[in-house]
């Protein structure tokens, strides 16, 4: 038995990647849940908003790099983030003005808005590919590792290496910061409180003199910000490919629904739950098991429950289980 090596292997292959992935999902799900809470529909275009925003960030990053600007150990993309968010928010606000507002005025049923958002999704999908292409793009620069596997092995004398990528650390730190800011905004500022009030009881919010168009606009801006940050962090951690972001929509939605649509806290919990389930079920546990279990019990196979190709099935399965047994999600969101 070798608990220390088991722990390091677990950290290296499960805990750290799942935490970083969970943080990315949580940021995406927060945007979905905010839009659901305020505008009362599931925004299918959110994944492509992430892609488009990341595309903008990459373009600005290239431009900054061509000027010789860099943030040292941090990726240049962080410097490009504000530009990306501004451009994406502008696109999204124009979309709202041109498309969603029309249906809002008609008091269209949520299901109609869902379909409308799918239309927006396809348009954004095309625009993104047109602007940035379909190729895989790596745009991470700056320091690569916080903890290097080989150096870790050398300095600790353990058989297992521990790698902690800079992008993973940045993702987790950025997520904590953004979530703290968001919660401060929603709970402490007048505008944030008016958003919660509007989400809680639209009619009473109107009676109280809260301007719905302003609430909607602020919601779109915040959701765009969250989408661009989530997309950029995901792109830095892995790589950018427009199609992957489209696929990311599924775990993002699963996170928001599992946590409880409309509940920001639920979106975060859902994000980590989905991430840990995906990584946990598709990880080959042989290594950890061999360290922990007595030799006689060590598994012969890989002890991998599911092939990584099936990782999206995990979010689907969790989604269905939650919808069957707790339709409002873990954190008492609105029922779908």
């Amino acid at each position: 038995m070798d608990l220390l090596n088991a722990l390091v292997a677990l950290l290296n292959f499960v805990v750290i990647p799942a935490t970083a992935y969970g943080a990315q999902l949580a940021l995406g799900a927060l945007g979905v849940t905010l839009i659901y809470g305020i505008l009362r529909f599931s925004n299918f275009a959110h994944g492509d908003t992430m892609a488009l925003g990341t595309g903008f960030v990459i373009l600005v990053t290239w431009w900054l790099q061509s000027l010789g600007v860099s943030l040292g150990p941090l990726p240049t993309a962080f410097l490009a983030l504000p530009f990306g968010i501004a451009a994406t928010a502008a696109v999204v606000l124009l979309t709202d003005r041109g498309v969603y507002r029309f249906y809002r005025r008609q008091k269209a049923a949520p299901v109609i808005l869902v379909i409308v958002s799918m239309g927006v999704m396809f348009v954004m999908n095309g625009v993104t590919r047109f602007v940035i292409g379909v190729e895989e793009i790596r745009f991470a620069d700056g320091a690569r590792f916080l903890i290097n596997a080989n150096e870790f092995k050398k300095s600790t004398g353990l058989a297992e290496g521990l790698a902690f990528k800079a992008s993973q650390a940045q993702t987790i730190a950025a997520a904590v910061l953004v979530v703290a800011l968001l919660f401060w905004f929603l709970n402490k500022t007048r505008t944030g409180k008016s958003m919660r009030a509007y989400s809680d009881n639209e009619d009473l919010a109107l009676l109280s003199g809260i301007n719905p168009e302003r609430v909607v606009a602020v919601t779109w801006i915040i959701a765009s910000g969250l989408a661009v940050i989530a997309g950029t962090l995901y792109g830095l951690d892995k790589s950018f490919k427009a199609f992957n972001y489209f696929q990311l929509l599924l775990p993002v939605f699963a996170s928001a629904i599992v946590g409880g649509l409309g509940s920001p806290l639920g979106a975060i919990a859902g994000g980590f739950l989905i991430a840990f389930s995906e990584v946990g079920l598709t990880y080959a546990w042989k290594k950890v098991a061999t360290y922990v279990l007595p030799e006689a019990l060590a598994p012969d196979g890989l002890a991998q429950l599911l092939s990584t190709d099936y990782k999206f099935a995990v979010s689907f399965a969790l989604l269905i289980v939650v919808l069957l047994f707790k339709p409002t999600g873990l954190f008492k969101g609105k029922s779908v």
């Binding site: 007048r190 409180k193 008016s194 919660r196 009030a197 809680d200 009881n201 009619d203 009473l204 919010a205 109107l206 009676l207 109280s208 003199g209 809260i210």
Partner: protein
């Protein structure tokens, strides 16, 4: 002229009229109660006063000013407060945040008003950090009334404030409403508990099929044998 005068209101939600020449007036610091059988248009009349209904005929004046064309939001700014019958709080927000949202249109310091609300409903001060949705029915009604008071209205309109609360809580709510009226705020309310409501009313309106049937002081309506027999169950 009365502080609030809603005269000859005629209109409804669709093509058919629900209100027929309905007239409601309230003087300063007065409690006016609308009673009547189910479907008499009591709540509709209240909504018409607040501008949530298109009127084909008639006009509403507040403090001598014609407000017939104003939206409900604008009427709030003019000094009207409205407490809907249901869904009248922000359930996931704390009691204090509910009151803050009530004062949303105020840009000045509203802490003094909040203290007044807490003085009126001491239980709300104890529960100010608790989400309004977790409170009992009676406490929730107090939050709803408190929220409406945050704009310092001159006219407070209550749509069945005692619906679904116990008789003890109902008496207490009525006491509080009298207290509010004593501060000079006019009150217009719709009530199912007609007898108890008329007991505290300066003025009572009995509506039937969207039209005024009886209009008198609360006391006189309670003494009226016809009203007692037909509407108060003997």
């Amino acid at each position: 002229m009365s502080f609030l005068a809603a005269e000859n209101m005629t209109g409804g939600y669709g093509a058919a009229d629900i209100l027929h020449d309905c007239t409601l007036t309230v003087d300063k610091g007065e409690i006016a109660v609308i009673v009547g059988p189910n479907g008499a248009g009591k709540s509709t009349a209240m909504k018409a006063v607040f501008g949530m209904l298109n009127l084909r005929k008639g006009q509403v004046t507040l403090d001598g000013q014609d407000i017939t064309a104003l939206t409900p939001q604008d009427r709030v700014a003019k000094g009207m407060g409205f407490v809907p019958q249901v869904n009248n709080v922000f359930p996931s927000m704390s009691v204090e945040e509910n009151l803050e949202m009530g004062a949303f249109i105020r840009r000045d310091d509203f802490r003094a008003t909040m203290e007044q609300v807490y003085d009126l409903f001491p239980i709300l001060k104890d529960k100010r950090r608790q989400p309004a949705g977790e409170l009992s029915g009676g406490q929730r009604q107090q939050v709803a009334v408190g929220r409406a008071l945050m704009t310092q209205p001159k006219l407070l309109m209550l749509d069945e404030p005692t619906a679904g609360v116990s008789p003890i809580v109902m008496d207490e709510l009525f006491d509080r409403i009298i207290e509010v009226a004593r501060t000079g705020i006019s009150i217009l309310m719709v009530e199912q508990n007609a007898r108890q409501a008329l007991e505290i009313a300066d003025k009572g309106y009995v509506l039937v099929q969207g039209a005024n049937r009886y209009t008198d002081t609360g006391e006189a309506l309670l003494a009226n044998a016809e009203v007692r027999r037909t509407f108060l169950g003997g």
